[in-house]
Symmetry: D2
Subunit: 457 residues, 4 copies
């Protein structure tokens, strides 16, 4: 039915990626040491070349956005993978790896794979773990890493290198990189960390240091743009099932029981949304991208009242960043900031629990009612990565290594439409992945969950 | 570095999809009943239209395949999702759901979501579960389904509708469809089942029945083409970790210990490959797409001998379809076929175990040696879907419903580059997803695992 | 070394158990219907008799408590199990099952096994589930139970019969029992519920009703006396590992990180203690039975300071009832009571978290410090029973049935030194199982964990 | 009802335990180093004394076995725990730990706790891990152990010391003990290993070496006598649920589906029995202690036929040692022995699968029928211990240490009626724990499962 072929013609525009030769045009290349592995017999298609690219956008409305931007080329990125020629002599590599910010499943897998990949595939022997975040660079807190030491790290949650928030002192950090002779810097962290990495990359360029910098976005919230998904996200969604299932059991076992689960998600509701889709026990899912209200027709209370009448219980999932505008704040709370400088969020779960109890006492005096509130945050983010994420973290780390060895710098490795690619660090530091409540995806997720749209009539 | 914009211009060609109006041009449309849900306030972008499309290919070599096919348009498929107008009056729908072939995690989720989606989103009230596969159509073996009945099915492994192999009798099946008045048929099954579904679709067209047919590919092996991945696959990879981990422990706890795990994969090694990437405990992964040999330089025994010398133990993963050409077969075995008509596979794991023991006894007489062989097949395929797959199965089932209600027929719903799309059933029945051991992906998976290429020098 | 045979002689005293014939001396007996099962061929030792007994105490200090009480007989209880003669004609049985109080893993298994055992072993066909606790008796809230309905209940957490606190109205309840013709009443609940069951039993005797009452103690805290352990306890200890493990990971991944986990245990520290012994990641375990203090030599802060210096992190487990005397309380809080009439506990975890932060800020200004606090309560108590508890719940329910069919009443079934026995309900309602911090067991648990004794020097 | 006090009087007889002072009467004692721990303030009841004893038997038939043996004293054992005086100066201890035989969950916990307990509680600094079983003593294969090294071992399955079967050479082993100066030997292994330990103990006595020997029984089958249960058993039962659950799903999803699971248990059916009780999905459980037959009235086939008619599927659990007398054996198979000298068992699962298929084909030609056979052995025994077993293993290892430091030798630590006790090694080496199919316990387990008694009418 319909369709056929469109008339509009499109070209492909490949995103420019910083490279060491931009700053050191005479840099020598070396043969990839894979060539000398006795069991290695690569096919013709083994090595990736600069003309291997990946399209960013794959869904179009031919009647709307496609022709409307016909003049613009289709955006593409360089594909990740091993190159035949590399720009580092393995014996001269001095790599630094650092983890910053909160925990996320898979951090240890990324670290482990960076070490194993550099060591076993490229023969690098000097790999340094910076301890406890950015401040580890200048506080002499580091540990030498090797495959034996990191052997089982992918089976442990957290980060064996320890982490901390803050501690970003640009000049001390770049001084440390310079004085300790690091020429490959792998930075694993969230959006604040990525903005720091951009500054480090710029300062390194300014000082004309022959150092490659790569950022590996770590955000359990999945709020980083361009890439398909951030590592640890599937594990977090999996673990969230336990909390939702417990809330469901508590609600079902009570008379007029409400199970309430708060999940991670400061500015985006991805975890809440995917956990809801996976569980099918959730009656309503509140996310930061969608305004909601409690009282009145079409509001949360009316909806829950109906659900309790139908089923005797209901389950509510709320992202930590949802409803922040609805919670009354003291003057002091309005000013508060956390160590990373982010505004402090009030506990939307605790607030909702109280509001629900007050509502019920007001409208159904004397009737039984229970709200069980679960906040599984620290139990989710501290687990080891599941199989899906472990595989992802392995490929991500190896993508980073191949890119750095190939001379790319100021970049981020990541899957775009399921192909590992290289994206300029600056682009990632500015991109944001939010749930678009106006697009098809949300729309029919809405239809699956059958929850209210919270539009006042 | 490099890149910029290519000169080649490309148009987009959208794959034609069969539609009921192809056969019944005067079919009336109806308003999507979502419009009358009191909590529903769709945004402008809610409904999907026929001009919403998804590109199939997203990775190109600009220097090779892209210009070489410049004349050909970029292939695209219709996007899945709810349509504003539908071609079925919900009150007149009589839906049939059937599951065929072996078990796969997620089957019950797909069934449950078909029922819940038809019932709650579209108001359909007559949904029939055909029991025990194709033969259930004509043996009067069926059960009425409703949301209350299927409520917890997504938390159970297997298929609550039961399944069986074979039993495909085209005319009896289409007679049954006709006589029982089904006008929507949802068929969940593997490649044999999909080929059967094509025949049913053709026969229905031939008889000019006003019946929409959709196929939902179920293959834990992930061997179906075009779509990103088949449902249950991530769960299978996750469960395989347990077996690999146990094999690893057995191998590590012994002197010269070999852990050997056989995983599903008749013609493709996807599970073995992804389980290997996720585990990082595997020294060698043998798949049907890659020939290997035991003796001689560059062979499996040499490689294992080296690993045992280095680490004292080794772990081997083998897909069930690997090495079938190496295993000696009796004349009788050469002729044997299973219920679905597939050639019977010999047990590559048992064979390898014996070969390994013989090799060691021959080459290291008197030295300790242990092979522990694990075949977790039935423990993997019978588990409920994990969160990732549950979410996938939900969206898949709802995609199927939206497509059928929109009048499409002879199609398959599935994710293409992470966007749910509709693909002609015939195209899917013929496509095959194999591991390409000559492309980039395999190549650098190879580099991650550092196993031999098994190329004789 | 030492020992040999003691001179002291001891007799055995068997605890008297209420029996229907105490009130109805002429009650007829019937043959156990097991005798008519076609596949059943019991050995001579199959049936249990009134002379089958189980000793309560098995550990003695021959030099101390044993001779000191030489005159007293060794205490013993009747052994549980099927009797050859029963005091109910199966066709005349009308059984009621009720669950009261908070959730505990295994409740559904107990319910399921009561139904399956009564139905399949004894041929009882009228089994009624009282819904939502004691109030269900008089509010006409009940459901007929049968094996098909309860088939999978043992795989679900919570209670399918729903539960509630309070609602105990003695006369309404016994009126309901009388009017609805129940002659077997199975009451599953905590210590408050057991005290209620005693009153029901007494009232039933007073009214001379021919009704057998049995209480099945449900307390995830394991605070009920005489029996070895309460059901759900092992599952709770297992689940607590997740929280402790997460707290450990959070603590290890931070600089001066403290992981703090609050576990269930109002008046007893069994869960905290066993979770500590199982985990081996815990540095200190605080329980209600042991006073502790924060400041000064030998206090918690000194101990933690030392652990942080040694390892860089520490993990603390605290039972919810610990330290209640240390937390400042407002006048209002001093008066507050929960629905069951218990004093409301303040959140010892939240209080400790604040105290720890204040202590550090005061004593180590400017140094990094993190406390991650996890309260997994609702995620623990809502899970299904693990294998150990499922088996226990099955044997417990069947013990209850065999006892009731044999005419016992006012009793509790439970394992004593690993043999299922019958204990007078009144004895259990008054017994309390606390951790004895002066005995051998605690003593050397203390030596395993190496934590402080909190004795001020 | 019934009971009251018996007239029979009983004394207590305490089992004699070998002690170093039996051979070295002048051995000096030392103060337990716990006394000098700064946080340690023991209560009066902290230390265990030789008069602390534990009764072995706690269930009696007052009308039968009790009076019948009135003359005999009640059997008791010394209680385990720390003693105030010890017979080793910690600085002079040289401990050896060895693991032999197959894997069992919890081995690494036992090793870890021996190391941590000796080091942290007693201040021992020379602890040697003998590698790869008995042969490690004389093949110079050993590793120095300390708390840092073993830190996370309790979270790993298998044995980090490696293990092997056979290799028992008495004189080489005792020579090695003598020459390397070990004075504490901890031997972890199965029944064969325990019989070896007895010989080592005897030879050490003969040579008048001042060496304490303790055996820690490791048998996942739970076939060791006197102690309540062997470590790893609860974990094995838990893991077996997965296999049974998968078999159940496979059976339920098929037409006339049989799920067949083979579980560990050479001479005893404890795992099969407990897994059956925990699962409630099993229709029949076959164990070595109970003869069964296939054909004829009251046989397995009749029973299964009835179950298939009732439910459409059935689940069968079989212990590996069951039915060995029914399986046809070649002459060669009759002679075969494994490395430990045990007769080789034929695969009862594979045999039953074939017999079942033949039976069906013979009696129901043309009807659908499926048998899915799962052997999860290696996936069960290689997992880490669960919480219940981890706690058990910790207390077991500390019991061993306390006993050895107190000068006991030739003993086994273990729980008797839930109190950790010391039992003479020789007694344990000869005891056997089988399922008694004639006693109460089996009898009413029988009634719970409702399976046939397999008594030919």
């Amino acid at each position: 039915m319909a369709a056929g072929t469109t008339d509009q013609q499109r070209s492909i525009g490949v995103e420019k990626l910083p490279h060491l030769t931009d700053y050191f045009p005479d840099l020598q290349t070396h043969t990839n040491p894979l060539q000398s592995n006795q069991f290695f017999h690569p096919s013709d298609g083994f090595y990736v070349t600069p003309t291997d690219v990946v399209l960013r956008h794959t869904a179009f409305d031919l009647a709307a956005n496609f022709p409307a931007t016909a003049a613009a080329p289709l955006q593409a990125y360089h594909r990740a993978g091993p190159r035949r020629s590399i720009y580092f002599e393995p014996g001269s590599v001095r790599a630094a790896i650092v983890t910053c910010g909160g925990l996320c499943p898979g951090m240890n897998t990324v670290i482990r794979e960076l070490v194993v990949g550099l060591w076993e595939v490229y023969g690098v022997r000097r790999i340094c773990g910076i301890v406890a975040g950015y401040r580890g660079f200048y506080s002499d807190n580091a540990v030498e890493l090797n495959p034996k030491l990191v052997h089982n790290w992918h089976k442990r949650g957290g980060t064996a290198l320890e982490t901390s928030r803050g501690g970003f002192d640009l000049h001390k950090i770049v001084d440390a990189i310079q004085h300790q002779g690091f020429n490959q810097v792998y930075i694993i962290g969230g959006d604040g960390t990525m903005r720091g990495a951009v500054k480090i990359f710029d300062e390194i360029c300014r000082r004309r240091l022959q150092v490659a910098v790569t950022g590996i976005p770590k955000t359990v919230d999945n709020d980083v743009g361009i890439i398909d998904q951030s590592f640890g996200f599937q594990t977090a969604v999996e673990m969230a099932q336990q909390a939702i299932s417990a809330a469901h059991v508590e609600a079902e076992s009570a008379v007029n029981g409400i199970g309430l689960v708060k999940l991670m998600g400061r500015s985006t509701g991805h975890i809440a949304l995917h956990a809801t889709l996976s569980s099918r026990d959730v009656d309503c899912c509140l996310i930061p991208e969608m305004a909601f209200y409690l009282e009145g027709s079409g509001g949360l209370f009316t909806f829950l009242d109906q659900k309790l009448k139908e089923n005797g219980h209901a389950v509510l999932v709320v992202a930590e960043g949802a409803g922040q505008d609805l919670i009354p704040r003291t003057e002091a709370q309005k000013e508060e900031r956390d160590e990373s400088g982010n505004p402090v969020f009030l506990d939307v779960g605790g607030w909702l629990k109280t509001e629900l109890r007050n509502w019920w006492a007001r409208t159904h005096p004397g009737e039984l009612f229970t709200v069980k509130y679960i906040d599984p945050t620290y139990m989710i983010r501290a687990v080891p990565a599941n199989a899906t994420d472990n595989s992802y973290c392995s490929l991500l780390a190896h993508s980073a290594i191949h890119g750095v060895m190939a001379g790319y710098t100021g970049f981020v490795p990541g899957p775009i439409n399921r192909h590992y690619s290289y994206i300029p660090l600056k682009e990632v530091a500015e991109a944001k992945n939010e749930v678009n409540t106006r697009d098809h995806k949300w729309a029919w997720v809405r239809s699956v969950t059958n929850q209210p749209d919270f539009v006042r009539s």
